[in-house]
């Protein structure tokens, strides 16, 4: 990434677009601590977070999904979401092994919250199934549910619509808007232009690791550099 200066105002939906290899996923990995920047800063809520371990970034309230779905295949749908409650619960090894009354109470709360989250994304009836057997569309939903279970303030969605059919994509768009209305800040990488234009309030365009345009969807759409670099052929289709 080169000299990308980039801001996400709280409470909005911002999309990052750009051709393959433009650096969108790299940007996500930098923010969430999976990659360490050589130089430069990443500031979240006034504090520098670049170079921090990814679990520490997650503890600050930044959650993400992955371009290639990364579920816990050997766990149930419910358990997947329960892992999302990790940062909001405290039980250690010993209290977990002894199943102290306080731990049992915490477990019950984790379970209840996870069930609510599954309800929200519409996966409640799948709760006891192994995550591995879900169809791709539902896997993407489960990944979002799992991220939501961490009660993030900033949610990074890496191509959430890829592999979804038209109806699923539409429902996804509604959910993203719904989440925004609940106060979440959302950063979205997406190839599906109609979804992006529908939900995003701001769009940043990356090309070869550089930021070539940024602004409201309408402005970005008209930007000649963007049209040349990216939208040119695809956009009309």
């Amino acid at each position: 990434m080169h000299r990308v200066t980039f801001g996400v105002p709280p409470g909005i939906i911002k999309a990052v677009i750009g051709p393959n290899g433009a650096g969108k996923t790299t940007l996500f990995n930098l923010i969430t601590g999976f990659l360490k920047p050589d130089h430069g800063q990443i500031i979240y809520q006034g504090e520098e977070i670049q170079g921090q371990a990814s679990y520490a970034v997650a503890e600050r309230g930044i959650a993400r999904t992955f371009q290639l779905v990364q579920l816990f295949d050997h766990m149930t749908v419910l358990e997947n979401v329960m892992v999302g409650r990790h940062r909001l619960s405290r039980a250690g090894l010993l209290s977990g092994a002894l199943r102290l009354p306080r731990t049992q109470k915490e477990e019950a709360a984790i379970r209840r919250k996870a069930e609510e989250t599954l309800e929200f994304v519409g996966l409640a009836d799948r709760a006891q199934q192994p995550a591995a057997i879900l169809p791709l569309g539902l896997k993407r939903l489960l990944e979002i549910a799992r991220a939501l279970a961490t009660e993030p303030e900033l949610l990074l969605l890496d191509e959430p619509a890829s592999g979804l059919d038209a109806i699923e994509t539409e429902r996804l768009g509604e959910m993203i808007l719904n989440l925004k209305n609940k106060g979440l800040t959302i950063l979205l990488v997406e190839h599906d232009m109609s979804l992006t234009m529908e939900v995003a309030e701001e769009i940043a365009v990356l090309n070869y690791g550089r930021l070539i345009a940024e602004g409201a969807p309408r402005e970005v759409q008209k930007n000649p550099e963007v049209i040349a670099a990216y939208l040119g052929t695809d956009w009309q289709a």
């Binding site: 999976f34 990364q70 816990f72 766990m75 090894l93 977990g96 961490t150």
Partner: protein, 322 residues
């Protein structure tokens, strides 16, 4: 898993332990049962590490040995109370696991396997060479038996009533653990370390914790072993024994708490039955490991259930989705 099913399992377990006591009258069988119990402790711990966290230790015999030798030396040479010595064994083994685990677990991949392999060999050499402490290859004798409230646990039959309740307790703790916040974290990191981290799971720390935890089980088993035999020698803590433990985990079934009991039982009894083939024991264990990994990768019980289900499906002409 509902509390009711679990309760039934524990009731069955306790009933089994008592039933065996009602039937068995022979010290040889009690000794064998006690070994099964001690091996179960080792295998459950190793299974938490291998089956749940997906990390391999090829040196678990070393932690078993550290527990045994710490208990043995402190009681036989320095006259410590056996229970206190057992506790200090836990401290020593836990500290050793911490020191190996910190560097090895920061790296992804099989570094823990390599580090524990080396550690196991070094510890074995120390047991052999530190003559003034350990007695060297000829072993350390004069280790006392445990006693409970003034009642000496000095026969296999009496010890049975310490070891098997302990096994029950450790199985219960482990089953709880797997189904707890950190247990889910472990299973999660096994499937996707990146996703687990993205949800705030400190995977490096969690792997270290479970490695230490499993070393503590091994140390406990080692102390019980020393007090059961009143004598220990380095030949019980070889690399071969570490491999046997891995085989027990695999045969019992990875990520199966109760399978650990089965794996330990089958592979403790088997060498007794195959006493004629003693010289080929390592070959037999190797063959078992290979056969199970290739044909029953989910372990003996689940593997056989899978095969049965597979046959049934075929007979009904159904399709199988995995």
């Amino acid at each position: 898993m509902t509390a009711r099913v679990l309760l039934n399992r524990w009731v069955l377990f306790a009933a089994g332990v008592l039933l065996i006591f009602g039937v068995v009258r022979n010290d040889y069988y009690y000794t064998l049962l006690n070994f099964i119990g001690i091996h179960t402790l080792l295998v459950v711990g190793l299974n938490l590490l291998m089956g749940y966290a997906g990390q391999i230790s090829l040196g678990h015999a070393a932690f078993f040995g550290l527990g045994a030798y710490t208990s043995g030396i402190l009681t036989a040479t320095y006259g410590f109370d056996p229970w206190l010595a057992m506790f200090l064994g836990l401290v020593v083994s836990g500290a050793a696991a911490f020191l190996i685990g910190v560097p090895a677990l920061k790296l992804r991949g099989y570094y823990l396997a390599m580090a524990t392999l080396g550690f196991g060999i070094i510890v074995y050499i120390v047991f052999n060479e530190a003559l003034s402490w350990t007695g060297g290859p000829s072993g350390l004798s004069g280790i006392p038996s445990l006693s409970l409230a003034g009642f000496p646990l000095n026969t296999p039959e009496r010890l049975y009533f310490l070891i098997w309740p302990t096994v029950g307790l450790v199985l219960a703790l482990s089953a709880n653990l797997v189904d707890s916040r950190l247990g889910r974290g472990l299973r999660a990191l096994h499937d996707s370390e990146a996703a687990a981290q993205s949800l705030g799971v400190n995977t490096a720390r969690l792997k270290l914790l479970i490695f230490i935890w499993s070393a503590l089980y091994a140390s406990l088993a080692g102390s019980l072993y020393a007090y059961a035999l009143n004598f220990i020698a380095p030949s019980s803590f070889t690399f071969m024994f570490s491999i046997k433990l891995v085989t027990m985990v695999v045969v019992g079934g990875m990520a199966s708490i109760w399978g650990s009991l089965l794996g330990a039982a089958v592979l403790t009894v088997l060498p007794e039955l195959l006493v004629f083939f003693h010289d080929y024991e390592i070959v037999i264990f190797g063959a078992i490991l290979m056969v199970v990994v290739i044909f029953l990768p989910r372990g003996l019980v689940r593997g056989i259930l899978d095969l049965w289900e597979f046959r049934r499906y075929k007979q009904e002409g159904g399709t199988i989705s995995v």
